[in-house]
């Protein structure tokens, strides 16, 4: 068996119950359960989560606006698929404004393939497709989720780790301490 860094799992974090799950990065893990645990240790060192989902990266179908525009023959091929519909989750990036904004959970769709789920999402009007820059499509069965009763053990402990917060180190600057606020402000005005 060759030495590898194990498969990569994308991590989706939900900051509070009113917010959607958002892609925050990925972890390498031997399987989905350890991916969930690694996702917690990597992305919830500081308090900000109520739920995590992990999905093996190769199980995610992705498409950017730029790719769609550059691939005009994409749709005809898609319509040939047939089979039993299943649930797909749609994640979209809808803003260019903030650096941190990436794909967020936007809803779900019943479809036969991820390609058809995407086509349906673009056509049915529910996803504000004109404002979407990046689409991620994930079959429900591929998502490994933290459970509601995991909150206390997975996410609550970070709340007490205040020494990881910069606000824990509330000292004044040496210059301010030495010269007092007045002189410093005068310097800055000058």
């Amino acid at each position: 068996m060759s030495d590898t860094q194990w498969p990569r799992y994308e991590v989706f974090k939900q900051d509070n119950p009113q917010k959607p799950h958002e892609a925050v990065g990925s972890v390498h893990a031997p399987d989905a359960e350890l991916a969930l645990q690694n996702g917690r240790d990597v992305f919830v060192r500081r308090p900000s989560a109520v739920s995590l989902w992990v999905v093996k990266a190769s199980n995610i179908f992705t498409m950017t606006r730029e790719e769609l525009e550059a691939t005009p023959d994409f749709w005809p091929k898609v319509s040939k698929a047939a089979g039993t519909p299943t649930t797909f989750h749609l994640f979209t990036k809808t803003s260019q404004r903030r650096s941190m904004t990436f794909v967020r959970h936007a809803g779900q769709i019943e479809a036969v393939t991820p390609e058809l789920a995407l086509r349906d999402a673009i056509e049915n009007g529910r996803f504000d497709a004109d404002n979407v820059w990046v689409w991620w499509v994930v079959a429900d069965e591929f998502i490994h989720r933290s459970q509601a009763d995991d909150i206390d053990s997975l996410f609550a402990p970070a709340v007490d780790k205040t020494y990881r917060q910069q606000s824990h180190y509330g000292f004044v600057s040496p210059r301010r301490q030495k010269h007092g606020r007045e002189k410093l402000d005068a310097d800055e005005r000058r």
Binding site: M100, W133, F171, P174
Partner: protein
């Protein structure tokens, strides 16, 4: 052939227009090969720096002199692993694999920040790394948080928020040791400054006139400030802070220039810089050996997990999944 070139020219024009409009380039979007190459180079160097950067401070976790300092240092070095992790992820979105990136590090092909090839000789060095090295890193990272490539920019935003903790915990120690410490602590702090100030200034990279990659990185919105601009910002911010503590910055030429409102430093020893970059620094061999050793010692662990993963998806599928308690399709 000519048609192909025209097509690439059109794409390049549209790509540069997107960057000019402030749009982020995302994985899957078209990008010039050189943009991809430069990003993988920069991001992986940066990731390696975080991973190697765990070593000089990690060496002092066993010696941290109070329960609180032990806790804080563990959290800080843990963050560095986390930053390496975020950055490898950003490089992976460009098609690089972590296997090949780590291989380049372990075989000595890849570079990382030279500052980590200097030894940490006393506990005060841990504090100076927080103040100076992380302070300098924050300057660079704040700029990179604006980078045109989405995954790199997002990794940087996350890292900057955490680096502020690193900077402040280091500064907290220096301020305390220099202003109300024992004679040993004061001496330790001045000695640390003498050793860490020169290489910290080198962290910003060669002068703009010598920097080969800068122009294209700025054109494509990966960097928005030059090495010299960032270095000067750092010097202007930190010199008065360090001097206010009564510490002496090891640079006889250092002076304040009223006209520019800037602190002017003496010459940087670029011979030393290039010696360290080329692998001849005081700790290059030891750092690389430590990473190689960790990798080799961990091989059997990674192989065991990979073997189990293989069992998941082949003959023992249901049996192993049941023993582990996992639904197989999620793997």
């Amino acid at each position: 052939m000519i048609e192909q070139t025209l097509e690439v020219d059109d794409k390049l024009a549209e790509f540069e227009a997107r960057i000019a409009r402030g749009e982020k380039i995302e994985p899957g979007d078209w990008m010039p090969d050189e943009y991809r190459r430069q990003l993988i180079r920069m991001i992986s160097q940066h990731a390696h720096s975080e991973v190697v950067g765990m070593l000089p401070e990690g060496a002092w976790i066993p010696h941290a002199p109070s329960l609180r300092r032990k806790m804080v240092l563990m959290a800080k070095v843990q963050d560095e692993a986390g930053h390496g992790q975020y950055l490898y992820h950003a490089a992976e979105t460009l098609g690089a694999t972590r296997e090949e990136l780590l291989d380049a590090l372990h075989t000595g092909k890849a570079k990382y920040a030279s500052i980590f090839n200097y030894p940490t000789l006393t506990w005060a060095d841990v504090a100076w790394i927080g103040w100076l090295v992380d302070g300098a890193a924050i300057k660079n990272q704040t700029m990179l948080a604006q980078a045109s490539y989405g995954p790199y920019s997002r990794a940087m935003v996350r890292i900057c928020a955490e680096e502020t903790f690193h900077y402040k915990q280091g500064k907290e120690m220096i301020v305390h040791y220099a202003s109300s410490g024992t004679p040993e602590q004061k001496a330790m702090v001045q000695d640390g400054l003498n050793r860490w100030w020169p290489p910290t200034l080198m962290m910003f990279g060669p002068h703009d006139s010598e920097s080969t990659n800068s122009e294209i990185l700025m054109r494509w919105g990966i960097k928005t400030k030059s090495n010299d601009e960032l270095r000067q910002e750092f010097i202007n911010e930190e010199v008065p802070e360090i001097q206010a503590l009564g510490l002496e910055i090891p640079d006889p030429d250092l002076h304040f220039d009223e006209d520019s409102g800037s602190w002017i430093i003496g010459p940087i020893d670029w011979d030393e810089f290039w010696q360290v970059v080329r692998g001849n620094g005081p700790m290059n061999a030891e750092r690389l050996a430590a990473r190689q050793e960790a990798h080799e010692n961990g091989r059997w662990v990674r192989e065991a997990m990979a073997a189990l993963y293989y069992k998941f998806v082949t003959d023992n599928y249901s049996k192993v999944s049941k023993a582990i308690g996992l639904s197989p399709e999620r793997n």
